[in-house]
């Protein structure tokens, strides 16, 4: 089962929740997949050992100018304007390339080969029963999605998997959550929190993804988020209070369940609830498919 943790607004407490959720799972093999490749931070709290590091690359075209006839077909094919064919030269703009392979496949002179271009690294380690994998995008790279896809490849569905999604509601978030069975949306009870929560809820509904909300820093701000969840029939899974001790622990890299071990029980209850929802959905899906 794969549970993703997303938010909408950044800084609401995704990593606070996702790391403590993972630390509360009493199974032999748990995977924690940090998909916030632009700013991975879960390792600060999970403190993995035996860190391995791999280079993450994508394929980009390389033109053999001796074979090229400057026919311009590759430029016509490229949807991303990554190739420019001039009178006697071809420019490749690798940062625009989406590695579709179309140019190389269709060049009539077979003048295009695909070569590796590094976009970042993938790091992995272990802490007790938790295997941690995270991606780190190189500074200056415009596209996080390819690296998110590569990090997700390490998922083994036989485990319980927790995915820490990036903040926001754009492409890398979609990639991070789209294959999960359930998504936890972490928000804060403020107007900004509510605004971005609504955007995230929109995504969940568009993806037809079962989801619930955790309110972090409960006690600050206003009642807008709670009212919204009530109106929309959205389950509030947990409310974590606005407490200085929690913030101090966080700033020292101490997870919530380490500061307050009582929270483990709360997270276990949430996990049970999510498991039931996911299993129910799977059953309903099988029944619907049989009826078709």
């Amino acid at each position: 089962m794969i549970i993703s943790v997303a938010s909408g607004k950044g800084g609401t407490g995704k990593t606070t929740i996702s790391t403590s959720l993972a630390l509360s799972i009493e199974e032999e093999h748990v995977q924690f997949i940090d998909c916030d490749v632009e700013e991975p931070n879960s390792f600060i709290f999970l403190k993995p050992d035996n860190l391995q590091k791999k280079s993450a690359t994508v394929l980009v075209p390389e033109i053999d100018k001796n074979k090229c006839t400057f026919c311009g077909l590759c430029q016509e094919i490229c949807e991303y304007n990554a190739l420019v064919v001039l009178k006697d030269n071809v420019l490749v703009l690798p940062e625009l390339c989406h590695s579709c392979g179309g140019c190389s496949l269709l060049c009539p002179e077979k003048a295009i080969s695909e070569v590796d271009r590094e976009i970042g690294t993938i790091e992995m380690g272990k802490r007790n029963n938790i295997e941690i994998v995270y991606g780190r995008l190189n500074i200056g790279e415009a596209m996080p999605v390819p690296l998110v896809k590569m990090v997700k490849k390490y998922i083994q569905k036989t485990n319980t998997v927790v995915i820490d999604a990036p903040p926001g509601t754009s492409c890398p978030v979609i990639e991070a959550v789209k294959d999960s069975d359930y998504c936890i949306l972490v928000t804060e009870p403020t107007p900004f929190g509510l605004n971005d929560l609504k955007l995230a809820v929109g995504i969940m509904r568009e993806l037809n993804k079962p989801f619930g909300v955790i309110i972090n820093r409960h006690g600050m701000g206003d009642s807008g988020v709670e009212e919204y969840c009530r109106e929309e029939n959205i389950e509030i899974l947990l409310k974590v209070p606005f407490e200085k001790e929690i913030a101090v622990a966080y700033s020292n890299g101490i997870p919530l369940v380490e500061l307050y071990p009582d929270y483990k029980k709360k997270f276990k209850n949430i996990l049970n609830m999510i498991t039931n929802i996911v299993e129910e959905r799977a059953k309903t899906k099988i029944i619907q498919e049989r009826q078709l």
Partner: protein, 121 residues
């Protein structure tokens, strides 16, 4: 000589569009006869790489010089490879821009003068 001027409108009294990659139109003007052709900028609606596409349109038009407000890094690279002289910081109407160019008031730029996606703001 043929030049391209980025334009907000379809005639010589239109204002110079300060963007290149996402300019509304390209005016291909013959500076000797003041005859002109309006080219729609297909690049304006592209998700990414608008500057690249706009540069291609410019090179394909046969113009030797570009007059515009700003040029970003991708556009700059492609235009330079295509041998186009780039003049930024041009404003006023198309007519005024051409006149300033003909009188030698305008000079070629040494590099892109704005960052990527500047024209989207």
């Amino acid at each position: 000589m043929k030049v391209i001027v980025t334009s907000e409108g379809k005639d010589l009294d239109s204002k110079v569009d300060q963007r290149f990659g996402r300019a509304k139109y390209f005016m291909l003007v013959d500076t000797d006869t003041m005859e002109y052709q309006v080219i729609d900028n297909e690049a304006a609606s592209q998700g990414g790489g608008a500057g690249v596409k706009a540069a291609q349109i410019t090179i394909d038009s046969g113009a030797k010089v570009l007059l515009t407000g700003n040029v970003g890094p991708n556009a700059y690279e492609v235009l330079k490879s295509g041998g186009i002289d780039i003049i930024v910081g041009v404003n006023g109407t198309i007519r005024e821009a051409i006149q300033k160019f003909k009188s030698g008031e305008l000079k070629s730029e040494g590099g892109p003068n704005v960052a990527s996606h500047h024209g989207l703001q």
